[in-house]
């Protein structure tokens, strides 16, 4: 709240600032605000104004074999890529913070390069590299590249959590008789879990939203939800796309909220004061 002694200029700024914040939030949300109502339109085209309300595009989405196939593919590729990226990224971050070796400072940029290099280049590169190996038009190739795209997020978030890690906990655990592996499972992992979870979340959404690499690597069998939406937009602009988008958004939001809640809970336990 504003203190009593605030001058008119301060009052003006106080309200302008609040207004600006709202505008920024609205801007960020506008694609959602634009697309979600359209999914409830009875009309056959993606146009405003909405004349009457209907569930028909959701029925279309859930009843159509192509949409369901792509949804299934997304739920195969994204979780697999997430698990791979999270495991590898966490191990890389732990190794980078605990060990000391020559060339260490070069390794970090290499690991996060998939985030820096334009995705089209990653797509072309992966295609050229994978096709002689028979890794195009198959799930494994797609999962590998999606995992590579997710690793940088995991490495960054886990490294950040580890930078505040009290290393005498590892010594304490060893002195109490725990092998290094057990120490990692019982002490290190639970304490860096918030970082691991955030990283996994980023890795998941990276794969779940990914179109470009999928365009290069996926055959008709591996079409994912975003890829299906992309071709849907090119061919016929049916509001079923809006329904698909709404489902995607709903799922991502639910995931985010659940993990945020879990993370907040474990954080509260560790920093709780009597």
């Amino acid at each position: 709240m504003l203190p009593n002694y605030a001058s008119p200029v301060e009052k003006l700024w106080y309200w302008t600032f609040r207004l600006l914040c709202v505008l920024v939030l609205v801007f960020l949300m506008s694609p959602l605000l634009a697309i979600i109502p359209l999914s409830f339109s009875a009309d056959s085209f993606l146009v405003y104004p909405i004349k009457s309300f209907s569930w028909r595009w959701y029925a279309e989405f859930f009843g159509n074999g192509e949409w369901m196939h792509s949804l299934k593919n997304s739920f195969i590729v994204a979780p697999a890529a997430t698990v791979l990226a999270t495991v590898l990224g966490t191990l890389a971050a732990v190794g980078l913070t605990s060990a000391n070796f020559p060339g260490k400072s070069l390794l970090m940029p290499v690991l996060i390069s998939p985030m820096v290099v334009p995705v089209v280049i990653v797509g072309v590169g992966a295609y050229l590299f994978f096709s002689p190996l028979g890794l195009t038009n198959n799930y494994l190739g797609l999962i590998l590249v999606h995992a590579a795209l997710g690793v940088p997020f995991v490495v960054i978030t886990v490294s950040a959590t580890l930078s505040g890690f009290n290393t005498s906990l590892i010594k304490a655990s060893a002195s109490l008789g725990a092998s290094p592996l057990l120490t990692f499972r019982k002490v290190v992992l639970p304490l860096i879990a918030p970082g691991v979870v955030s990283g996994a979340l980023f890795a998941f959404t990276t794969s779940f939203d990914e179109v470009v690499v999928t365009l290069f690597l996926a055959g008709p069998e591996q079409v994912t939800l975003p890829r299906q939406m992309f071709s849907g937009i090119k061919e016929n602009i049916s509001p079923a796309i809006a329904a698909a988008a709404a489902v995607l958004i709903l799922f991502s939001t639910a995931l985010l909220l659940t993990l945020e809640w879990l993370r907040g809970r474990s954080e509260r336990i560790r920093t709780a004061k009597a």
Partner: protein, 369 residues
Amino acid sequence: MPEVVPDNDVLVSFRGVQKSYDGESLIVKHLDLDIQKGEFLTLLGPSGSGKTTCLMMLAGFETPTHGEIRLNGALLNHVPPHKRNIGMVFQNYALFPHMTVGENLAYPLKIRNFSKSDVDAKVLHALSMVKLEKLAHRYPAQLSGGQQQRVALARALVFSPQLVLMDEPLGALDKQLREHMQMEIKHIHDSLGVTVVYVTHDQGEALTMSNRVAVFKDGIIQQIDSAYTLYEAPSNSFVASFIGENNTLEGEVLSLQDGFCHVKLGDGVGLKAKAVCADKAGARTTMSIRPERVRLNGASEQCANRFTGKLQEFIYFGDHVRLRMEVAGNAGFIVKVPVSELDGSWSVGDSIALGWNPEDIRALDPLHP
């Protein structure tokens, strides 16, 4: 008064141990040390003298560059830390923040596959030892510093290790709590009979708690003895100046006889002192005498060494008074007098007769060669 080591069996032995972190300078220069079973041994020394390094080598977190360490006769050099069965208390407690107090204590027991009922009983017993039974369900962040320290202590003892290492465990506590915990640790040591190696740079702590104290300097043990011997019979001038308060006089050895020596001070005055390090006539020596061994006025008349001191300052300490005097050209000479023996007629600037016995002043190695 010197304390006797309870058991003569050796638990830990260091033989010719050296440690260098960078391959050039030796942090631990040469360590030969036997730690007796049931002993409370303190490593005392100034910052950077290699105390923590020695402890870490024993715990297995650092490897000796040379030499061997044995536990119960078995070579430790290639045993990883988690297989050594040595308890450890860290300065910053190192409690697992995501586990409750009870879970922290159960951790080493579960690793050792104790049954659920054994775990519960041992945890409860360890908690009652440090008087924290009621806090088993709290998280470490919900405890005060002193309580966390007790949990750390209980956790290091709960799996009944033969040996417990403590690296400045009380460093973060305030003075009163620290003194209380010193007594508590001492009592726990006495009742369990566990061997403790304790690191501190607080000499009061070292003297009150230990069976033996090893005084470190520059990676070498200067002297290892009971608190009484260290204080009353320091074997070199570093130990004399590091432990307790101490007056020093510089001089040159004139002659040696029957363990005593005659020394000429800078201003030509002679005195007789116990020859500890002084081994030949003509050598320089630093002599050390404790402030409470100096006698004043009438009491000084039977002493072999007699001087006149010029009173410069009274310093009041409640139970005693320290007199700062100039003696034989030495301005910082301190004499400790119980309040009851104070003479009301003394005032700053007076000359007072003082003296001490030859066995109370020790001729040691020269502090400034």
